[in-house]
Symmetry: C2
Subunit: 397 residues, 2 copies
C-alpha cells in the first residue's frame, strides 16, 4: 500500500478579515502549499476541500471547492467537497490519504477554508449552532441546561456544550477554573511566537478568570474566537515524495471516528486505532495539537490521548511538560483558543503546524528534535459525544 | 487492488413529500439496502453521505449524515459528508469505491438523500441556484441572457443554463423542440413501469410541447421536477462480496472530473477515462442512466458518451435504440425528468436502477441480458461547464 506523505504546507494568518473572501483565503493557502512543494496547479491530480458553514454565511451552499479554487489554474481534476463540522479540514485530509493509499493519485491537494465572521455576529453563532441535531434541539437543550437559562444568542451554543463537558470533567478530576485559565495562558504564550495566530498577546490567569463570563466555568479567554482563514497541504505517494524533497513528512496514521453507537469518547477510540495503525504509543509522541475549542477540552484530551492517566490532566498541565520546552508540548501553535478557529480550516492548519514542527522550521516555538506528532480534531455534537473526531499522526522520515 | 462490488441497493419512492424528513427518507433507503445485502448496521464499516442543499432547506448545514442516520444503529464508524451539487450522490459512491480500493474498509454504505421541497417553492429554486459562482452571478447572467429578460424567480436558474445549452446544441446538431419532447415522451413511458418514479403517467409529444413554457426551447415536461427522496448502496470488497451473494455487481470504473481548466465537456473526458479504466468501449454498454436535468442533456450525453457521433443525437433517439427493447436503452428508470431529481439522491439512485437491471430484477422495464451499465451524473455549473461529472460503470460478474 502506497503511504501518504506531506510534501507541501501553507496557510493564511487566522483572524477577523471583513474584506476577505473564502476564495481569497483558499487561494492564498493553496498557493503557499504549492510553492512550498515546488509544484504548480497543473501538477495537482485531485482536490479535497473542507468547509463547514459557507452555505449559511456567504450563501455558497454548493460546489464550494470548485468556486474557491477556480482561478488557481487546476485542470479538469476531481474536486470533492467534504464536511464534518469543525473536523471538516482533517476529514478532507483523511480522504486525501485514502486516495493515495488506493493508488488513485500521487499528488493530492487539501484545502480547508472558512469565512466565519459576518457583520451580524449572531449569524456566525447560529451557523456554528447547526452542528447538532436541529430536529431534537429542545431535548438537547433540556439535557444541557436543566433548569438553568438557555443560550441567549450572544454566544455560540457550543460554548454551552463545552461548559457542560467542563463541569463533568471538574467533578471527576478535581480540575478548577484556574486550571482552565492556565491552559489559556499557555496557549497565548505559545501563540505569541506564531506569526499566523489570531491572538498574539500573552495573558495572565487573573486576566483569563476576569474576562467576560460565557457559560458555566468558561470565560471569554477560555473560548476559541470567531475568525477566518485557510490552510492547505499537498500530499504525495512515498515514491513521488522521495523525488520531491528530503524533509517530507509521512502520515503514520489517519483515523476518523464518529460519536455514534458508543459510550466511550470517540477521541479515545480514535487514538487507540491511530497508535495501532502507526505502531506507536503515547510515549513516542513529541508534539501534539488538540481541538481546544474551549480550554477544558485540552485537559480532557491529555487523558483520551493517553498522555496521562484518568483525572491527571490538571497535574500534567501544572508540570509544564505540555509547554514548549517540556516533554510533550501541546498546541505549540497556540491552539484554537489563541491561533484561532476558522472551522473548516482548523484541522488542516493543525497539520500545517505539525509538519513545520517536524521539519524544524518553527523558530522560537520549535519543539526541539520533534520526530512524531499527533493531531486531534473534533466536530459537531451528537449529545454526549462529538459527531466526528480525527486522529492524525505524522512522522519525520 | 481490491475491486469494489455492489452487494446491496435500495431507495425510496421519489416525489413531493411535505411530511417526510431527510432522516426519514435516508433511513428508509439505508434499511432497504442493508436488507437487500443481508447485513445489519453494526456490520457497516464506513458511511459516505451525499446531500446538496439541507443547509438552505432544513437549516441542517453540518454533520448531515450523522444526524440523518443516527437512529440506524451504526457503530462509532467514520461518516463523511460529501457534496458536489447534483453529483453529490455519485461523488459519495466514488469515495466509497476509493475506500475499498485502498483496503481501508470491506463493507461501506453510501446514502444520498435530499429534501428539496419547501412550502415556499422559491426557496427550493434559490437553493438549487447556489451551485454556481455566486460572487460572479452578474457576469454569468450576462453570458446567459444577453439582452433577454433574466430568470423571474418562478423557475430554477439552472433551467436557463440548460436552455442556453439546448440552443447551442440545436445550432450544431439541427435538433428541434420536438426532439426534446420525444426524450420526455420516452422517459415518461419508461417511468410508467417504475414503481419508485415521481411521474408515472405517459405523455405525448404535443402534451410536452404545449406544457408551460420554462426557458428558451424548454417546456415544463422537458424539465426535471422538484422532489424528495433517498437512495442507498452497500459496497464490499470482491472477497467479501463473494461470501455474500451470487449476483453481486462489480464497479468496473468510477471516475470523477470537474469542469475546471478545460474547453471540452467534462462528461466526454470522464467517459474516456471510464472506458479506459474498465477496458471497455461504448459498444459494450447495454444500459445507461444519464443526468437529464432537462431533456436536451440526454441527446448531448449520447454524443459525449460515444453512443453516437457528433450531431447524431436526434437520429439515435428517433431510431428507438435508446428505448427499452432497443440496442442501448437510456434512462430505463425514467431519468431525472420522470423518475425525479432529489439532488443528493440522484446519483445513487441511478446506480440502484442499474444494479437492479444487471441483476435482472426490473420486471416490465427490464433490459434483457444487460451485463454492462454506465451512469453519468453531473453537478453545478461553472460556465460553460458543469462543476462535477461522474461516470460509473457496472458489470455483472
Amino acid at each position: 500500500m502506497a503511504r501518504a506523505t506531506i510534501v507541501g504546507a501553507g496557510m493564511t494568518r487566522f483572524g477577523k478579515f471583513p474584506d476577505r473572501t473564502v476564495r481569497d483565503l483558499a487561494e492564498e493557502a493553496a498557493r503557499a502549499a504549492m510553492g512550498d512543494a515546488g509544484v504548480t496547479a497543473v501538477d495537482v491530480q485531485r482536490v479535497f476541500f473542507g468547509n463547514a458553514v459557507s452555505g449559511l454565511i456567504t450563501g455558497q451552499e454548493m460546489i464550494r471547492g470548485q468556486i474557491a479554487l477556480r482561478d488557481l489554474g487546476l485542470g479538469p481534476i476531481p474536486v470533492l467537497n467534504v464536511e464534518n463540522a469543525c473536523a471538516s479540514g482533517s476529514s478532507a485530509v483523511h480522504q486525501a490519504v485514502t486516495s493515495i493509499e488506493a493508488g488513485q493519485s500521487d499528488l493530492v491537494m487539501v484545502v480547508g477554508a472558512e469565512k466565519l465572521t459576518h457583520e451580524d455576529k449572531r449569524r456566525s453563532f447560529e451557523a456554528i449552532g447547526t452542528a447538532v441535531d436541529l430536529e431534537r434541539l429542545e431535548q438537547l437543550e433540556r439535557d444541557l441546561y436543566g433548569d438553568e437559562p438557555a443560550a441567549d444568542g450572544d454566544r455560540s451554543f457550543f460554548m454551552d456544550v463545552y461548559a457542560a463537558m467542563a463541569k463533568r470533567y471538574m467533578d471527576r478530576s478535581g480540575a478548577t477554573e484556574a486550571d482552565f485559565a492556565a491552559v489559556a495562558v499557555k496557549s497565548h504564550d505559545h501563540a505569541a511566537t506564531n506569526p499566523v495566530a489570531q491572538y498574539r498577546d500573552p495573558v495572565t490567569v487573573d486576566q483569563v478568570l476576569s474576562s467576560r463570563h460565557i457559560s458555566g466555568p468558561l470565560t471569554l479567554l477560555m473560548c476559541s474566537p470567531i475568525g477566518d482563514g485557510a490552510a492547505a497541504l499537498l500530499l504525495a505517494s512515498e515514491e513521488r515524495a522521495e523525488q520531491m524533497r528530503a524533509d517530507a513528512v509521512q502520515v503514520a496514521a489517519s483515523v476518523l471516528v464518529s460519536g455514534l453507537g458508543t459510550d466511550d469518547d470517540p477521541a479515545g477510540i480514535g487514538a487507540r486505532q491511530a497508535y495501532e495503525q502507526a505502531g506507536l504509543g503515547p510515549d513516542d509522541v513529541d508534539v501534539v495539537e488538540v481541538h481546544d475549542a474551549a480550554a477544558p477540552a485540552e485537559l480532557i484530551m491529555y487523558e483520551e490521548l493517553g498522555l496521562c492517566g484518568p483525572g491527571e490532566g490538571p497535574k500534567l498541565l501544572a508540570s509544564n511538560e505540555t509547554r514548549i520546552g517540556g516533554r510533550v508540548p501541546v498546541n505549540p501553535s497556540g491552539g484554537l483558543i489563541s491561533k484561532g478557529h476558522p472551522v473548516g480550516a482548523t484541522g488542516v492548519a493543525q497539520l500545517v503546524e505539525l509538519t513545520e514542527q517536524l521539519r524544524g522550521r518553527c523558530g522560537e516555538r520549535q519543539v526541539d528534535g520533534a520526530r512524531i506528532a499527533l493531531a486531534e480534531n473534533g466536530g459537531g455534537y451528537l449529545g454526549p459525544h462529538p459527531a466526528a473526531v480525527t486522529i492524525t499522526m505524522l512522522q519525520r522520515g
